[in-house]
């Protein structure tokens, strides 16, 4: 683990009201994009803010390139943070916003100009130097905010739900662009989100958090295919939960095979058949709860409310 870019060791940060995070251990490789995923209040932002220096921690350590940074003020840390919104300074033009940090680092004027122009090209927003934040859309503002952070060449880029205030289409687009820039520049990113789809699409690894602790850490596919707990199974993707003989059986809708009649692993009756575009969602009543599956439009024509259905599970989990 000596060559980890960012390492969080046994970190604990508790607020007065008892919320916070306990015994957090995370290791991020150089050039990796890691996502902290969880519902609000699970402590994901607490960890991010601790890395950025905006939260002091009670115990443990945070290392970047093997050096502890916990005693550094935010302005001294080799990290850059992008917040959910209101990142840009409203009274400064885009150029002034981007130049501010470079000036503090005493970068010569000509180099500042060159680097800002290049960075605006990179985020596909050339020519907006003279605009003020209030004259741009939310998506454009976040782009500039990310550009402003990248300009300072941080060791680790911290993103706190940067796209959550944007509408779905723009969010999708920003996601793709961020991933591209991140891989092109090979930067280390810690990304916080409550959107599991965003986490799956964007990350090399996802850390699923629950009430201040890490529930599971792994590649998106690994977390989806092998959720270690009921909580993760429930939070990531869709899942049917069936209470059978005191145990919980969890089955993803795509792992439910259906045929008309009886004699399957589980039998039930059609409850609803809902057309959702290129696929159909069918739910079935069983003795152990409702089961959901996805079928094609063609198949769906054979099923009507109340029909008996036999189900087989190609894959299931037990908790």
């Amino acid at each position: 683990m000596a060559n980890a870019k960012l390492e969080i060791v046994n970190m604990t940060k508790l607020y007065n009201n008892g919320d916070g995070v306990k015994n957090i251990n995370i290791s991020v490789e150089e050039g990796e994009l890691i996502t902290l995923l969880g519902p609000s209040g699970c402590g994901k932002t607490t960890i991010l803010r601790a890395i950025g220096g905006f939260n002091d921690i009670q115990s443990g350590d945070i290392l970047i390139d093997g050096r502890s940074i916990i005693n550094m003020a935010p302005e001294k840390r080799p990290t850059a943070m992008v917040f959910q919104s209101y990142n840009l300074w409203p009274h400064m033009s885009v150029y002034d916003n981007m130049e501010f940090g470079l000036k503090l680092r005493k970068v010569p004027k000509a180099e500042r100009k060159q680097r800002i122009t290049e960075m605006l090209e990179l985020v596909k927003m050339p020519g907006v130097e003279k605009k003020y934040p209030g004259q741009m859309s939310g998506g454009q503002q976040q782009r500039i905010a990310i550009a402003r952070s990248l300009l300072l060449r941080p060791e680790v880029l911290l993103l706190d739900e940067p796209f959550s205030a944007l509408d779905a289409k723009i969010r999708q687009q920003m996601r793709e662009e961020l991933r591209k820039i991140q891989t092109d520049l090979n930067i280390t990113v810690v990304f916080v989100t409550h959107d599991q789809e965003e986490a799956m699409a964007l990350s090399d690894r996802v850390i699923v958090m629950n009430k201040g602790t890490i529930e599971q850490c792994g590649a998106p596919a690994e977390i989806y295919d092998r959720p270690v707990s009921r909580y993760v199974a429930d939070f990531i993707g869709e899942m049917n939960f069936l209470q059978i003989n005191g145990k919980t059986l969890a089955v993803r809708p795509e792992h439910v095979r259906v045929r008309k009649g009886t004699g399957g692993e589980l039998d039930g009756f059609v409850r609803t058949v809902m057309m959702l575009g290129h696929y159909v969602e069918m739910t079935m009543d069983t003795d152990y709860g409702i089961v959901k599956t996805f079928i094609s439009e063609e198949e769906a024509r054979e099923y009507h409310k109340g029909d008996p259905v036999a189900m087989d599970f190609s894959k299931s989990f037990e908790y």
Partner: protein, 289 residues
């Protein structure tokens, strides 16, 4: 033609709705102002046009002292009130301590105490035989502070002190509202790129709140340049604030001179009103669409 008629009709309707307010304003604001302006240019005995009243104000040694004293006390009140209010507002905005939350719920209290009550209370505490003096009497006689006399009443110090008591809460309220409009992420992202506290103040917080600070300052200026109760009760006999001077002229039946003093106070107030309107109307580059 039809269109013109309906336009004319709606214009009349607007005038009709505004008329009551307009008549009241004309009667109790505009008319007295015009009356006062005319009177200030009249000779007391003949009623003829004269500049005598104003030239008296600007040449008479005593009157000039009153004018300078008023400006001096008011400006000092504004500067000190804004300085302390800004500090207090910054503290309230950026501190999460218990003390801050207590102050947050208490700082407006002085605004709810009537001026007269507050001034008399201040007198009780500050006067040379008041509470401070009584407490100092409890000290051993050999101490220098025994029988301490604050010497704060019947001079500019007392007036300014009382002014601060009323104006700091008010200015803090306005500046606090401006500061609470500055999102934490604006400050934190400045910190993040490497700015220290002082730079954050001068580069972020000050430019984002300066127009509200100016507005607070003009309000403090306007209410203090013409103040009467406070200087009347705890000011000196000489020099005196223009409000007190005005009353003195009035009670000696020098109505024309009193009118000239009124106009002068009005002029001072309008200067700060112009500043206020200018700050309010000035569209900043970053607010333009």
């Amino acid at each position: 033609m039809v269109k013109n008629k309906s336009k004319w009709k709606s214009a009349m309707l607007i005038v009709g709705f505004l008329a009551p307010a307009l008549i009241v304003a004309l009667g109790i604001v505009i008319y007295p102002i015009i009356n006062t302006i005319i009177k200030s240019f009249q000779d007391p005995s003949t009623g003829a046009f004269t500049l005598e009243n104003y030239s008296y104000l600007f040449t008479n040694k005593l009157a000039r002292a009153h004018i300078w004293y008023t400006i001096w006390v008011t400006v000092l009140t504004v500067v000190l009130a804004i300085f302390f209010s800004y500090l207090l507002a910054l503290y309230l905005r950026f501190s999460n301590s218990r003390i801050a939350s207590v102050i947050r719920s208490l700082y407006l209290l002085p605004r709810f105490v009537p001026v007269l009550v507050a001034v008399y209370a201040l007198k009780m505490v500050l006067s040379d035989s008041g509470l401070i003096n009584r407490l100092s009497m409890l000290l051993p006689e050999s101490w220098a502070l025994h029988n301490f006399k604050p010497g704060l009443l019947y001079n500019a110090k007392g007036i300014i002190l009382a002014n601060l008591w009323f104006n700091i809460p008010f200015a803090t309220m306005i500046i606090s509202a401006a500061l609470s409009g500055i999102s934490s992420s604006i400050v934190e992202s400045a910190q993040d790129v490497g700015a220290g506290k002082i730079r954050i103040f001068f580069k972020m917080i000050l430019p984002l709140s300066i127009s509200d600070v100016m507005i607070a300052a003009t309000f403090v200026f306007m209410s203090n340049v013409s103040s009467f109760t406070t200087p009347y009760l705890i000011g000196a006999n000489h020099p005196m604030m223009l409000g007190v001077y005005l009353r003195k002229q009035f009670s000696s039946r020098k109505y024309e001179l009193a009118a000239a003093v009124s106009c002068l106070i009005f002029l001072f107030s309008s200067i700060s009103a112009i500043v206020y309107i200018y700050t309010n109307l000035k569209e900043k580059a970053w607010e333009r669409d």
